[in-house]
Symmetry: C2
Subunit: 324 residues, 2 copies
């Protein structure tokens, strides 16, 4: 894992070097707050790994990687308003710490800043990078909209859900890798394949998130176990459970989800009991593994040195095997 760690350090140092504390301070303090909270830096790391995979010059990928991280954090700031989320990474969200107007406007500013970073690279690759970047930004918004639409829908299908997480989560991972590959001048086929790798990895990544929300080592995760159940989120777990459940279990599940007065711990344990009876953890793990396997096959097919692929593969395994 040496390479990924070095790159992570590179990104963190670049972020630290930025001056986010400008005027007016009401606008920029939240940006500084969000950008200095750390996090996995997963997406920019993928950009650098993809650049390296195709023998590119990391310097050309560094600011586009930064662009993706700033963009990702912008989406979190706005999502937290829409989801009324009080906490993120164990800290107050911008919307909660300041207010929603500040969160809207700081977010908008971050979006524009992301584009500023995106073009700090070779002029020759800017149009391609910008194309991917804007297309992806739109898809991420579509994913967030679908996620909100699902809240008020009774019959969300599993394919609908996969499409939602593809848009909301996976396309940005795909784009992170694709942009890294573009800066390295990779061939068309490999650019497409590394994007597909990101899509499949991203879907596996989100399914893992869904699983960890209930089955993770939550004390390290900075949030309570079973949060998705309490907020009534239609994750893969509950959709699969509704699909597999007998009529009595279905009714019980729906009752549990629909009852806002129920004691939280009782609600979680009751839902969990049904999930266990239906072997939901095993079912979701299996689907997740299928997407992960697909992603590895995509990676296999790109035109790059085996040693370089290994660094990407190792990082993918690390993501896949995390338990918080």
């Amino acid at each position: 894992m040496i390479k990924a760690e070095i790159y992570q350090e590179l990104i963190n140092r670049l972020i630290e070097e930025q001056n986010f504390k400008k005027q007016p301070s009401a606008l920029y303090e939240p940006i500084h707050y969000v950008m200095s909270q750390g996090g996995k830096r997963l997406r920019p790391l993928l950009t650098l790994l993809a650049c390296d995979l195709f023998g590119g010059d990391l310097q050309k990928a560094l600011y586009p990687a930064m662009a993706i991280e700033v963009f990702h954090n912008f989406t979190l700031v706005h999502d937290d308003i829409m989801d009324k989320a009080p906490l993120r990474r164990g800290k107050e969200t911008v919307y909660k710490k300041w207010n929603s107007n500040i969160a809207i406007l700081s977010g908008d500013t971050m979006f524009a800043m992301a584009y500023q970073y995106a073009i700090m690279t070779d002029h020759a690759v800017i149009p391609d990078i910008l194309n991917v970047f804007s297309q992806t930004a739109i898809e991420v918004c579509e994913g967030q909209q679908l996620d909100m639409d699902f809240e008020n829908m009774d019959n969300v299908s599993i394919p609908d859900y996969i499409e939602m997480i593809r848009l909301k989560t996976a396309v940005l991972l795909g784009a992170s890798l694709k942009i890294g590959a573009i800066t390295a001048g990779a061939d068309e086929f490999s650019i497409q394949k590394i994007y597909d790798f990101g899509i499949h990895l991203g879907i596996a990544f989100q399914l893992k998130d869904d699983l960890l929300d209930l089955y993770g080592e939550f004390e390290k995760f900075g949030k309570m176990s079973g949060g998705d159940i309490l907020t009534g989120k239609k994750t893969y777990l509950v959709l699969k459970a509704l699909e597999l459940a007998n009529s009595a279990q279905q009714t019980r599940l729906k009752q549990l989800y629909a009852d806002p007065a129920l004691d939280p711990q009782l609600k979680i344990s009751s839902v969990r009991e049904i999930f266990n009876a239906l072997q939901i953890e095993q079912h979701v793990s299996k689907i997740m593994e299928e997407f992960f396997t697909k992603s590895l096959a995509d990676l296999e097919s790109v035109n790059a040195l085996e040693a370089s692929k290994q660094a990407v593969r190792e990082y993918a395994y690390l993501l896949f095997n995390r338990n918080h």
Copy 2:
């Protein structure tokens, strides 16, 4: 005014040709709603006029012009949430017609779409256009933040106010012109001067807006006369009045602005009386004319044919002489 009218028609037709009605409909319907409401199309028109001014190919400026119009409308959608504005151009705002989550996310999508349009031009000019575009987007956010900051400040100075409207309004006019000039391959000096023209015109334009809010032919304007007084907005008018007022008038003005229970028509007429006594309309008109004169001098100095300058000048006069 033939040229500006033809260009306006060109822009309107381009906007009509776009398919804004995509899926998910909750995301795209508001975008279609906003983009088909018309409006002056002032900013894209300036882009085309600047492209023409420097003998450029209009085709290269068309989509960047579109980008600016979409961006401008995005800022209105988000501003209306922050300002809790129920109406815009005589119609319900997105935030009011749908809700603030929809307005946040549709706005974000429009921002990304704007960037998609911005790069639909010659690859050679994309980096320069993107630079201007992102820098301007950030400044517009800074302007909106200052505008919100001013609401809670007791001592907003007139230079503070001018700086705020420079950021919130004028830089986008400057950028519209600059981007048109860039697509036409204008020289550095002229690009800077046409930008300055936009800045000075934009400040004059906003001062005109402030004036028209109270002294305009409001029945055509789609909003009530004196709205800024009722919302307690710190416009140039009231800032100048506070500067010129004697101590009794100052106290009275502050009382009037601070009293939320006062009858609206009485509030407006009482404030207006003080403004009239202080000749505020004349004072603000004079400052506005100074900025307008500066803008004409900027236009004069660019390296372009006199006949082409005339089309831009005519349009500037049209903006300046509007009475609603």
